[in-house]
Structures are given as structure tokens and as C-alpha cells.
């Protein structure tokens, strides 16, 4: 349990670091060239780590046919998120992506699809996911709303000054 939490914290931090680095790559090249580079290096690093930890045992595996198409999902992520950001802007799109992610996680855990261990759906887990979604939305959209509120206050203040002067 504790190991799971620590690994998830490490993983999440690295996802952010990777997104930051990728944002800098995208300043020079297109989204798809970036994706191509990122996946190539990800493959090489995983391959090297596998060789280091398992030696030639890395090559003895029995894969189902669909395993060879699993990479399509990653490409689907890039395509959908890019389209979403183009239409909605980064903060609104990313907040929706994250909310959708956690809700589908709950659906998946509850249904136990794909040989995943089923975690029974409870009202409490729904409340947990609702709180996480609320937190994501506040995090992503809060700053803009705060800014707007501040702008409005300034404007009312300015109007007040005018009135006093008048």
C-alpha cells in the first residue's frame, strides 16, 4: 500500500516533468514529431532497463495478438488531448481530461474489465472521485476566475473613484 502510494507520487511527478520537457520540445517541432521522439526514447529506456534487470529473459514472452496494438492507445491520447486543447484552451481541456480519467478509473475498478481485480463500487468511492474532480477543476480553472474577480473589483473601485470626483 505505502509502496503503491510512493510509486504513484514518483510517477506523477515524473509525468509533470516529462510534460514540461515536451512543452519545450514542441516549441521547436510539431506535436507528432515530439510524440515520435518521446516514444522512441521511452522504448529504448524501457528496453535497456529490462535488459539490465532481466537479461535475455526479457525476450522470452508469449504475447497475445492485441498486445502488439496497445501502442495505438498512447497515440489516441496525444490526438485527443491535442484536439481538446486546440478547441478549449489548455486549462479547460486538461481539467476535463483529468476528470474523465478518474471517473473512467472508477468505472473500470467497479466493472473489473480486462482481468483487473474488481473493486466493488461504493457511494464512498464515488464521493472520493467527486472530491478529486472538484479539486482538479478548482486547481485548473480557479486562477482565471480569481483574476476575473480581481479585475471586476478594480473596475468597480475605478467607477467609485469617478463618482467621488464627480
Amino acid at each position: 500500500m505505502v509502496i503503491g502510494i510512493l510509486l504513484a507520487l514518483l510517477g506523477g511527478t515524473l509525468v509533470c516533468l516529462q510534460n514540461t520537457f515536451n512543452a519545450n520540445v514542441k516549441k521547436q517541432v510539431s506535436v507528432w514529431s515530439t510524440t515520435m521522439l518521446v516514444l522512441a526514447l521511452g522504448f529504448l529506456a524501457s528496453f535497456a532497463a529490462g535488459l539490465a534487470f532481466e537479461g535475455t529473459a526479457l525476450f522470452s514472452f508469449d504475447a497475445d495478438l492485441w498486445f502488439w496494438f496497445s501502442g495505438v492507445v498512447g497515440v489516441g491520447v496525444v490526438a485527443c488531448v491535442t484536439q481538446g486543447v486546440q478547441s478549449l484552451g489548455p486549462s479547460r481541456a486538461i481539467s476535463l481530461v483529468m476528470v474523465s480519467q478518474i471517473f473512467f478509473g472508477l468505472v473500470w475498478d467497479s466493472l473489473g474489465w480486462f482481468g483487473l481485480e474488481q473493486v466493488p463500487f461504493t457511494f464512498q468511492s464515488f464521493l472520493g472521485v467527486l472530491l478529486i474532480s472538484g479539486g482538479v477543476l478548482l486547481f485548473q480553472l480557479g486562477p482565471a476566475i480569481e483574476e476575473k474577480a480581481r479585475g471586476q473589483k478594480q473596475r468597480t473601485a475605478a467607477r467609485r473613484t469617478v463618482k467621488v470626483n464627480g
Binding site: G4, G42, A49, F67, S125, P143
Partner: protein, 172 residues
Amino acid sequence: MFNASHYLGHMSFLRLILSYTVGLTERCVKQLKGTLFALAGGFFLTFQSVANATISDQIGTWQAAAMTQLTGFVLAIIIVLTLRDRSYKDLGQVPKLYASGGALAAIVLFSNITAVHLMGVTLTIGIFLIAQLVAAIIIDKFGWFDMIKKNISRTQIIGVCLMILGVIVLKI
């Protein structure tokens, strides 16, 4: 009462309303499209975690990580070739540190797969998101890695607290 100029004015008023409605509809469609794509993106991200965990069950974690990325890479090459996208030629200008970010995916996938096995998808994603957002505000706060410096806002702190509360509720 109803002279020609009045009538014409009426027409242009109608046309104005019409163009306004079309513009509004276009914007609505764009928003709807963006929303659907963003929701699908979230679905694919969760699907990816689950698929990697399932595949690793059968063939091992590093094999699963290497396989999904190799097949994704092949598909990305096909897309770049189909789009006649030549921008990869400028990859040399990207600072080495930023260009090597992809290698981090090995550790990300390993932690993701192991965490999903240990505590299920929902909890794994919840904690991943918290770590991701906290790291983002720290990077923005100090303006590291060529990011624009941004102060941490109060709503962001409340948002992260709400997420931590959510994870606790999920777990107890």
C-alpha cells in the same frame, strides 16, 4: 409607414441576427467537439493504464512497457510520414535535456503498472494527479525549465487539498 429604407434596415437586422446565430452555433460545436475529445483523451489514458497492467500480468512489466512504446512509436512514424511532417529535422535544435524527457517514461510506466497492481486504477490515478499538479505549481513558482514564472494561487492550494481529501475518502 413601411417605406423601402425601413424595410432594408429590417433585413440587415435579420442578417445580423442570422450571422450572430451562426457564429454562436459554430462556437458551440467547437466547444462540444473539444469537450468530447478531452473526455476521450481521459478515457484513453485510463485505458492505457489498465491495458499496460493487464499485459504486464502475462509477459512482465518491462516487456509491457517496451512493447506499448515500440508499437506507439511505429504508429507515430506512420503518422509523421502520412502528414508529410518535416519538422523532425529541427529536433537537433532542441536542448538535450528537454529532448531526453521521453526516457522518463520507463520509470513512469513501471510505477504506474506496479501501483495499479497494488491499489487499483482509481487510487493510482488520484495520487498520480495530485503529484502531477503539485509538481506543476512548484515548477511554475520558480520558473524552472524555461516555464513562465507564475505565483501559486489560493484556489490551486485549496484544489490540491480537496484532491487529497478525495484520496483519503477513497481509501478509508
